[in-house]
């Protein structure tokens, strides 16, 4: 059958040429999303404008001013610093912890499988609600964690309400929610590794640290890369946990990109600055996602090959 022939009529008399069919099938999905592309372009335009909702009459193009002013704006550098610090800390800690837990659970047993399923529960909790749970537990009046902190000598540990420990607290919540994500991906990776190299190493009496660093880790690398980049993309954009926990406070301790853009838009009604912030974040995520997609496709191909 050549590409141009029409299909024999189906029971209901369908006649769609084979060339057009795939477009017909995929177009509705695309159309729904086109509506989303327009606001994206609008954001680009806004980012080159002086635009405050409170002063709509003063709206005009100022071209690169929003971006140029970032260079001398300590608030912007704070946003960049906190975002990178947050993303870096959470991803590194989650990777180490996730890998350790995956190694602990590697052996297939009823108990290990049960625990790995239980550990999915934080990941399935809405991050905003997880932040609320931790907020209740760290309440200075009755929070169980505040009480436990006082038992180990931290009498007045203020968790998210003190600038010195706020970042620690939200990172802790992020670790609670997202470590299981890395764990479950690495566990699947570990369990899919071929057994021969390990059997050979065991026969030869190779030390276990050598096996781990020279066999396990290299073979696991594609999984580690994919999981890490996935988390990094998410973490640099974190909004839910930080907003639900402190709304970016105390002060501007936790004004990461999306929180700062939200506050700029709704509190100081500075649409131009808010849009410029989002464009910069988008540029960062675009670079990361290109690296991610390469790794992800490679892994996906391998998974399909196994099927």
């Amino acid at each position: 059958m050549t590409a141009a022939t029409t299909h024999r009529a189906g029971p209901s008399g369908f006649r769609i040429s084979k060339r057009v069919l795939p477009y017909v099938l995929s177009l509705p999905a695309l159309l729904v999303c086109i509506g989303i592309l327009i606001p994206f372009l609008t954001s680009v335009v806004y980012s080159f404008q002086r635009y405050r909702l409170s002063q709509p009459w003063a709206r005009q193009f100022n071209w690169g001013d929003n971006y140029i002013s970032f260079f001398t704006d300590p608030k912007f550098w704070n946003t960049l610093k906190v975002s990178l610090l947050y993303a870096g800390t959470t991803v590194v800690l989650e990777l180490l912890l996730g890998l350790a837990i995956a190694l602990l659970l590697q052996k297939r047993s009823t108990l290990n499988n049960f625990i790995s399923i239980m550990l999915l529960m934080p990941l399935m909790t809405a991050p905003a609600l997880a932040a609320l749970m931790w907020k209740l537990m760290t309440n200075p009046g009755f929070g169980v964690l505040s009480y436990l902190a006082s038992l180990i000598g931290l009498q007045d540990f203020r968790w998210a309400s003190s600038p010195s420990t706020a970042l620690f607290t939200v990172v802790l919540v992020d670790i609670w929610v997202y470590t299981p994500f890395i764990m479950i991906l690495l566990l699947a990776g570990l369990r899919s590794l071929p057994t021969q190299p390990f059997e050979a190493a065991a026969l030869d009496g190779v030390p276990r640290s050598f096996v781990f660093f020279r066999i396990t880790l290299p073979m696991l690398t594609p999984y580690i890369l994919t999981a890490t980049l996935f988390r990094l993309l998410d973490s640099i954009q974190q909004f839910d946990i930080i907003y639900a926990m402190t709304q970016g406070g105390p002060g501007d301790t936790l004004t990461v990109f999306q929180v700062e853009a939200y506050l700029n838009f709704f509190q100081s009604t500075n649409v131009g600055r808010s849009a410029a912030l989002m464009i910069i974040l988008w540029a960062i995520t675009y670079l990361l996602s290109n690296i991610f997609i390469k790794n992800w496709l490679r892994l996906r191909e391998r998974a399909r090959g196994q099927a």
Binding site: F14, V32, Y46, L129, Y147
Partner: protein, 285 residues
Amino acid sequence: MEHTSLLERILRGAALALVVIFFMFPIAWIFMMSFQTNETILRIPPQLVFEPTLANYTALITGKLMTAAGTLDIAFMRNLGNSVFLSVTSVAVSLLLGVPAAYAFARHKFRGSEDIAFTLLSFKFAPALLVLLPLTLYFQKLGLANTYIGLIWVYQLICLPLILWIVRGYFEDIPADIEYAYRIGGHSWFATFRKIALPLAGPGIAAAGLLAFIFAWNNFVFALVLASADKQPVTVGALAFITSSGIQYGQISAAIVLSITPTLALALYAQRYLVEGLSLGAVKG
């Protein structure tokens, strides 16, 4: 693993116990708080033994909260209803749009197919507020501000890429020969799609739908920006709840328990597919 010493086994056990405590404790503690009155919650040191009460749940379900200052109306059930409605409808729309598209991408390599598929995927990775902030202004002009239709539309950004890429993988796993053989028997592409491809990819489609439901349910920022109180799902509603005065901590806990139970239950039910879904088909569980 046969050569593990007793000491190592003990250390491993202890490490695992710590892990389980860290990840399970918050859920267990909030669950316990939801059965306590403010009086027992505020007691120091925190109590492990208490007289459980269902008062928090009855207050939430009836929507009437008795406080010292009088009766307070709480709209939490409304939030819960919104969450159910928004998530179910969004996933249904996504399946309707996404499954045929996934089939097209899996079976027909047409001009621009990969570009379109990747464009749809890229929505998953772009910052939400980049699109949401201008969208608030557009929605006001279009009359979509604070409507279910507007929300369901933007929820497609969460559900559609997920469904498209997971289901595509399942369609690709079906050998093309099976479909070809059926086509040779004189059946239309639509009959082939309906009788062969859909049933074979069925479990994958169900899993993708469940996962999309969980992500839609757990979403916070879309509704925070685009919905006001009467359309808000639980994630946003619960936040408003904690800041309003006169609310008791037991009720907040009960609200959290009611809000996270559906996703936890679904996750446990569908856990077999979670690995594949969470990695968008890159890792098989």
